[in-house]
Symmetry: C2
Subunit: 145 residues, 2 copies
DNA sequence: TATTGTTATACTCTATAACTATA
DNA sequence: TATAGTTATAGAGTATAACAATA
């Protein structure tokens, strides 16, 4: 717990953000160890798990991952048969990333693991606090463009 | 903006967390480009900026960075003259990481950049929302041990 | 001219395990 | 025996710049 003084005078919101991200990511990777996925792969699959196809650009915005990083991540997931890059008729420069049958299975397990962590963690949190969390994250993102 | 349906049924708290972390980190590194620091180095310096010495272990807990990663980060920062590893009389297995004079200067600038982002981002956020944010981050970390 | 996505390079971060010194 | 910190290795993530294809 930080001192009152620090909370009021020093920056803490971003430090806490990073700490929480590192921790939850490590916990998530551990709970999904059997699937042998990296943090970025988990992040990517969790985003794709809703079944909506996305372009690489959209996925990059959704995950916060750089395009150049995403190329490698998608390469590995494609090689493992979890997704495909389909031509995009609407814009022939881009692809639509779509989960395969087996990709959907893996993505579902990832999504469940993510949901599990959230359920456990947020059990004692009020809707109002959750709302504040969402608002602050949105504000941080908005200020970082 | 996500659909109502997704907010109520799917996991979003961790996905939003990762997205926000990536974004703010990129913005921070860009605003501190002249200092030529990586995200981890920024995180480390921002934590040390309060002037309190720490062991590597404590720093690892504070930043969420792995010990093995921290060794390299500290190596580089030490080589640049920003910090020193001082013997720790209390426990001779460990070191106390302390900022040097020039390290304090750099850390101050890092801390100011972090504070700037926070001020800008959180200008329109209420204390109550900020409180919810803090509570949720704490809950996520607690559930990830 | 600008954007989408990939490639290339060099460096940083991570996981894992082994190792030394100290507790 | 356990912990603090480092080292070693291999793979993954990053910034940056350049590139082809398309808009």
């Amino acid at each position: 717990m930080k001192s009152e003084d620090e909370l009021s005078t020093g920056p803490w919101a971003l430090l806490a953000l990073q700490r929480a991200t590192h921790r939850t990511l490590q916990a998530l990777a551990a709970s999904l160890a059997e699937l042998d996925l990296t943090a970025s792969e988990i992040n990517t699959l969790a985003n794709l798990a809703d079944g909506r196809g996305r372009t690489v650009r959209q996925l990059s915005l959704d995950t916060g991952t750089r395009g150049t990083t995403l190329t490698g991540v998608l390469d590995r997931l494609e090689r493992r048969g979890y997704l495909t890059r389909e031509p995009n008729a609407a814009d022939r420069r881009s692809f639509r990333i779509a989960l395969t049958e087996s990709g959907r299975g893996v993505a579902r397990r990832v999504r469940e693991a993510v949901a599990d962590v959230e359920r456990t963690a947020l059990a004692g949190v009020s809707p109002r606090q959750l709302d504040g969390y969402r608002a602050v994250l949105a504000a941080l993102q908005e200020a970082s463009r």
